[in-house]
């Protein structure tokens, strides 16, 4: 299968008031088309930094980041914006919807920054909203009239609307109760089944368990070999395996000693 993204030896060094911070220390991994990957790590591990680089909001200090085969590590700000507008869909913990705009308007937002003709926008937004199973009656409601789960599904539809290569979800269930969170995760799975590539950042093992595979980041390095949480073609519900993989390299069934850091496929 084609690689959607490939990170090669990514380092990120910040210059802050307290001196230099080495946030990422040589991260390498890759994600295939149609894969649902969870990136796990405690706060301060560098997972946010990694997500920002994957989302083309930031560039690595050194290393390469191939998105659909193109190295975007050295892109300038406008070029990155272009990539974000067309190839990446973001889902945030706090939804980040415009509260007084309608659901449809919110879902259409990214198209404003693309060449998509106006006539097509509403149609694309509608079909994105349908694919996250949002009730059509809600399309013309203001987004602040929705429940948290509905809001997050609008946000997912917004991430989908420009048919991105990669959907990046940053703690998408962090502000939701468990049941609603499950529903949102089920939505991601549904999208994965439609062939979308999803990278989910979380610190919750239960959430990561829904992904096909999880990688751990700790102190700016990938901790342990990334391992398939399950093989989705054969076993769609191996939640317990996912848990193990999160506990650390030692406890993971595929976390044997001697594994390479940063999976290369």
């Amino acid at each position: 299968m084609a690689l959607v993204l490939e990170a090669r030896d990514i380092h990120k060094i910040y210059e802050g008031a307290s001196g230099l911070t080495h946030a990422l220390r040589g991260v390498s991994f890759s994600v295939e088309q149609g894969e649902f990957l969870a990136i796990m790590g405690p706060s301060g591990s560098g997972k946010s930094t990694l997500m920002n680089i994957l989302g083309c909001l930031d560039t690595p200090t050194t290393g390469s980041y191939f998105l659909e085969g193109v190295d975007v590590a050295a892109y300038n700000e406008d070029e990155l914006a272009e990539i974000r507008a067309t190839r990446i869909g973001f889902v945030f913990q706090s939804f980040n919807l415009l509260p007084r705009s309608t659901v449809l308007r919110n879902a259409m937002m990214p198209l404003m920054y693309t060449a998509c003709p106006k006539k097509e926008r509403a149609e694309r937004a509608r079909s994105a909203l349908r694919s996250v199973y949002l009730d059509e009656a809600l399309f013309d409601h203001r987004s602040n009239e929705l429940s948290g789960g509905q809001m997050q599904r609008v946000a997912i539809a917004r991430a989908l609307v420009n048919d991105p290569a990669l959907i990046l979800a940053d703690e998408p269930t962090g502000n939701l109760d468990t049941a609603t969170g499950e529903m949102v995760l089920a939505t991601f799975k549904g999208l994965r089944d439609q062939g979308k590539t999803i990278v989910l950042i979380t610190h919750e093992p239960d959430v990561a368990a829904h992904a096909d595979r999880a990688i751990h980041i700790r102190d700016g390095k990938l901790a342990g070999k990334d391992c398939p949480v399950h093989t989705r073609d054969t076993d769609p519900m191996p939640a317990s395996v996912g848990h193990d993989s999160i506990a650390g390299p030692g406890a993971s069934p595929c976390g044997q000693a001697g594994h390479q850091r940063g999976g290369v496929r």
């Binding site: 406008d78 914006a81 920054y113 420009n162």
Partner: protein
């Protein structure tokens, strides 16, 4: 980003902050309404005065001569020969006396004893009735022409039917045959015009003490005519000093008025531009607050693919829209104010109707100034928004 999108986003943002947006644009509203009110009012007054003066009065030259030997109509004929720039030169005399209708008496009325051509030189406009003719003047007819103000003074109301009525001047009754429109520029209270010969015969006017009024030929340069007139008249009467001859044209008054109005406009303009500057700073302040409040939204937009220039455009357009909205409200308020002030002027000066001059270039200019203020004071906040780091902005609480 397409213009339609920008406009929608701008509208969305401004509608979210209606109250604050309105307060912010007050400075612009006040500045623009002051400019619009003043320019249309001044334009209106100017139009009224000019309309009243007419083209005829612009060609009028009044000549005062301090000639000890007196001035007669023969002198005027001679001067007319000497100065071909004049279509004609005519003389008149004023006397002060009381007039009455039997029921009312007006003290201190000014009686103008004149020949018919005097009306032409004065640019008088008939409101109703007619003027006296040359033969009526020669024959000493007891006819009077009266102006609208005087109708009010004598008959109690401007609308009174004066033509055909009799008025008592001196020892005789005169029939009113015409009513002139009142001039707001020149007013001597109650003004009544009678034929010159009649005044000589019945009001004790003695020939030889005339005031001279000249009517310049069309197209002649009034300024140079005024200059040559001064020297010619001085030479004719053998007066050494030019202090004894004073020549005065309405043209110079008009020019003087234009200069006065222009400097007044300039003054108003500078006051208004201070207001606009302060308004612009207010807009900048609000836009900076706006940017800070909407950091997360900016971060979101950037994460969705907005480039720096998209963000710049969005915030710049917001500032421009604010200013233009202020401008439009200001234009409307200014025009209403001009109408109100015009009506007030009309009420203070009877017979003067001031219709504010609504000038399209001024209105377009005002809108243009608003756009400019928006650009000047909106650029810095917009750039600040555009330069925000997307990662930092998304994390901002």
């Amino acid at each position: 980003m397409k213009l339609g999108d920008l406009l929608y986003e701008t509208w969305y943002a401004l509608a979210a902050n209606k109250g604050r947006s309105f307060l912010t644009i007050l400075g612009i509203v006040i500045g623009i309404s002051a400019v619009i009110a003043m320019t249309s009012l001044i334009g209106g007054i100017q139009n009224t005065l000019m309309g009243e003066l007419g083209f005829a009065q612009a060609r009028q030259v009044a000549i005062s001569v301090n000639a000890p030997q007196g001035i007669t109509f023969d002198d005027l004929d001679a001067l007319e020969q000497m100065m071909p720039d004049y279509e004609f030169i005519t003389g008149s005399t004023q006397i002060g006396t009381s007039v009455g209708t039997g029921t009312t008496t007006v003290e201190n009325a000014t009686i103008f004893c004149a020949k018919p051509e005097y009306f032409i030189a004065n640019g008088s406009n008939l409101e109703s009735g007619r003027l006296f003719t040359e033969s009526e003047e020669k024959n000493g007819a007891r006819y009077a022409v009266i102006d609208q103000n005087s109708v009010k003074e004598v008959f109690g109301s401007v609308d009174a039917q004066a033509v055909g009525q009799t008025i008592h001047i001196g020892n005789d009754d005169y029939q009113i045959i015409g009513v002139l429109q009142s001039s707001t520029l020149v007013s001597y209270g109650t003004m009544i015009y009678v034929p010159y010969s009649t005044a000589v015969q019945r009001l004790g006017v003695t020939d030889g003490y005339l005031q001279i009024t000249g009517f310049v030929r069309e197209g002649a340069d009034i300024e140079s005519v005024v200059a040559t007139t001064t020297s010619t008249v001085a030479r004719y009467f053998g007066l050494a000093g030019e202090d004894d001859v004073y020549v005065f044209s309405f043209d110079s008054i008009i020019k003087e008025m234009e200069t006065t109005m222009a400097s007044f406009s300039l003054l108003m303009g500078s006051v208004a531009s201070i207001s606009l500057f302060v308004g612009g700073v207010g807009i900048m302040n609000m836009m900076l607050t706006n940017v800070t409040e909407r950091i997360r939204e900016i971060g979101l937009r950037k994460s969705l693919g907005a480039r720096r220039r998209d963000i710049t455009k969005q915030f710049l357009l917001e500032a421009i829209m604010l200013c233009v909205m202020g401008g439009v409200i200001g234009i409307v308020m200014g025009l209403l104010g001009a109408w109100g002030l015009g009506a007030a002027v009309g009420a203070m000066q009877p017979g003067m109707t001031v219709v504010p001059a609504i000038s399209l270039p001024v209105i377009l200019g005002a809108v243009g100034v608003c756009v400019l203020i928006g650009v000047v004071f909106g650029y810095y906040p917009a750039r600040r928004a555009a330069k925000l780091d997307p990662v930092e902005s998304l994390r901002y609480q």
